[in-house]
């Protein structure tokens, strides 16, 4: 599935933001145009895609966000919008008038929520988010980015019950932007994260909420019991790193936010999504020639060789290169060198 970035602006500042480099490096007024959106819709349809995600920045900032959602639905796509839920009153009213009649099977909002205690936000922010959840709750899947090992999930179960959200919790671990030094989960902290997640097992069961793991979790950090539990939910977990395929307002395409600097291309260079995925598969392969995974044990690991697990995300591997030995592939080395900390 491809992600369309409607804008590179955001109205929030999360401590773990791994889109920060992309946001900072782009034109703040950069907005996805109708011409480009129609081109992308044609491109994806011709690639056999029927699902699309809208991202930002904060996609709901785009003045024509509602129209874009309606257009993509009319083109036959199922649409997922990744939002922080901080919508102003007039935008909420637009959502109420035009989106609350859409089937919940076809339109989903993944609302990234932060722990109010660990990541406190101003009262007005919290208020706006709650008003959004009150309005669009049945269309919303909560999302949570784990950026410290002592995270809590209680507030999310509370939100699911209070606002009638979809009973699926999307969990991501925050990724390093190679060379950026942002807050992220280190390989050594992975087991602690998994244990913490598993400690919520009874609440997941009692509230009938299913956990969904985003990319970057290494399989070996789960016990067989933990894997068995995860496999009991619809859409069993995967541990592979793949291209998110992010398309920016200026029609650049890159692997994912943390790798937005790496082998970035123009969408116009490709004829199908398959070609783009192949381009980024080669990128991952080039990097994996250098290093098998984020742990020493990844080298020679059967699950790694069978491609059941990627041994962590490519961005985590590249982050090691930035501070460690240079790699052999000149093009990647050149891009890494730009991110290396000056001595």
């Amino acid at each position: 599935m491809a992600n369309i970035l409607l804008t590179t602006r955001c109205n929030r500042s999360c401590p773990y933001c791994f889109a920060e480099r992309e946001m900072a490096g782009s034109d703040v007024d950069s907005l996805m145009s109708w011409e480009n959106l129609i081109y992308i819709a044609d491109f994806l349809l011709m690639s056999g895609q029927r699902r699309v995600s809208l991202l930002g920045g904060e996609p709901t900032i785009h003045p024509e966000c509602v129209d874009y959602i309606l257009y993509l639905l009319e083109r036959g796509f199922d649409v997922t919008v990744f939002t922080n839920g901080m919508l102003g009153k007039s935008r909420r009213e637009e959502f109420r008038r035009h989106l609350t009649g859409i089937s919940r099977e076809r339109l989903t909002f993944v609302c990234n929520l932060n722990d109010p205690l660990q990541t406190p936000a101003p009262h007005t922010e919290r208020e706006r988010i709650e008003e959004f959840l009150s309005l669009m709750g049945p269309w919303v899947s909560p999302g949570f980015n784990i950026y410290r090992p002592d995270f809590t999930l209680d507030f999310l179960f509370d939100a699911i019950n209070r606002f009638g959200l979809k009973r699926h919790l999307r969990l991501g671990i925050t990724h390093p932007i190679p060379g950026k030094g942002n807050g992220f989960i280190r390989p050594a902290e992975m087991r602690q994260v998994v244990e913490r997640l598993y400690s919520y097992r009874e609440i997941f069961e009692a509230t009938r909420v299913s956990p969904g793991l985003d990319c970057g979790f290494p399989m070996c950090k789960f016990t067989d019991e933990e894997l068995g539990w995860l496999n009991r939910f619809r859409g069993s977990p995967h541990f592979r790193c793949g291209a998110a395929v992010d398309i920016t307002p200026d029609m650049s395409v890159y692997h994912c936010f943390p790798l937005s600097d790496y082998q970035r291309r123009s969408l116009f260079e490709f004829d199908s999504l398959l070609e783009i995925e192949e381009h980024f598969r080669q990128l991952r392969q080039q990097i994996r020639v250098e290093i098998a995974g984020i742990f020493e044990e990844c080298d020679g690991c059967r699950q790694r060789e069978d491609d059941v697990c990627s041994g962590g995300g490519v961005c985590q591997l590249l982050n090691r290169f930035v501070d460690e030995a240079p790699v052999r592939i000149p093009e990647i080395e050149h891009e890494i060198a730009k991110n290396r900390h000056p001595l």
Binding site: S33, E35, I38, A41, D42, F43, L45, V66, Y71, H98
Partner: protein, 289 residues
């Protein structure tokens, strides 16, 4: 040549005065369209279509299921907010409708592409002197060569599908502007060669009865063959590579910035590509054996 279709303003008296004609009626609003269609059918004439010359954007028009069976040519100044268009999309898709938007505004060129991508047959209305030929060329390429499913955008689709390398092509009929196919009457029944001439009071006959056979009527045959004068005048258009599908339609603009020339040359190329695709293979290029 049989008598062309008649384009008239919606006027019951005028309709009653004719019979056996194929008629296109001009109205100002959608509610008038259903009424006009019924009156044409009751008058003993055949309805070709109802032309809605709306003053408000497409999104603001009160389209409803009741007009589904009426052939409609809706000429609107703009599309309007997409969110409001979604409410009338089922009618636009299910009806016998073609949307005309003037392409002197960049947002209308985008709207034409958008409507086409949603399966709505539409048409670019050229605005002399105001046309952005480069943007129009992008739209034309999309209309003819884009492989993703979309509805036709006229006149590009008509040109691409009707183009014959060995003959000239006049596509004015798409805009009801070709006396071979359409004559325009005013409320008093006077006949003009085009909508513009009818509104300017430039008439060729006091009534349609004066015209027994169109190709024998001097004013009509002169207009049909008027493009030949460009050749006699050594007009720059006559030397343009796009001449065969333009026939000097934009002669007043030609030579100023050459925009129309570039566009029609590209249109010709695209039409050839379409022809080659229809023939079952890609067009053979000069570097191919």
């Amino acid at each position: 040549m049989k008598l062309p279709k008649i384009v008239i303003p919606y006027n019951k008296t005028l309709l009653r005065s004719m019979s056996g004609q194929i008629v296109a009626v001009r109205v100002k609003s959608i509610p008038q369209a259903a009424e006009a269609a019924a009156h044409v059918r009751d008058s003993g004439n055949a309805l070709f279509c109802v032309i809605v010359e709306a003053n408000s954007p497409l999104a603001e028009l009160a389209l409803h299921d009741g007009i589904k069976d009426i052939p409609l040519a809706i000429m609107a100044p703009a599309m309007g907010k997409f969110r409001r268009v979604t409410a009338i999309l089922p009618v636009l898709r299910g009806g016998n409708i073609r949307i005309y938007l003037p392409c002197d505004r960049p947002d209308n060129i985008t709207s034409l592409r958008l409507l086409s991508s949603l399966g709505i047959h539409c048409c670019a209305l050229f605005a002399p002197g105001e046309t952005n030929w480069e943007e129009l060329a992008d739209l034309m390429t999309y209309a003819v060569l884009e492989r993703a499913p979309h509805a036709p955008i006229e006149p590009f689709e008509f040109i691409a599908s009707s183009y014959e390398p060995s003959s000239y092509l006049d596509w004015g009929r798409i805009f009801f502007d070709d006396p071979r196919h359409f004559l325009h009457l005013d409320a008093r029944g006077r006949v003009a060669l085009s909508r513009r001439e009818a509104s300017m009071g430039d008439f060729i006959a006091a009534g349609i009865a004066e015209i027994a056979a169109a190709d024998e009527f001097p004013a009509i045959s002169e207009r049909i063959n008027s493009w030949r004068y460009r050749l006699a005048e050594n007009h720059p258009c006559a030397f343009c590579a796009g001449w065969k599908i333009c026939l000097g339609r934009f002669a007043p603009e030609a030579g100023e910035d050459g925009g129309c020339a570039g566009f029609f040359q590209e249109m010709l190329d695209v039409a050839r590509q379409r022809g080659a695709q229809r023939a079952g293979g890609e067009e053979l290029r000069v570097w191919q054996p």
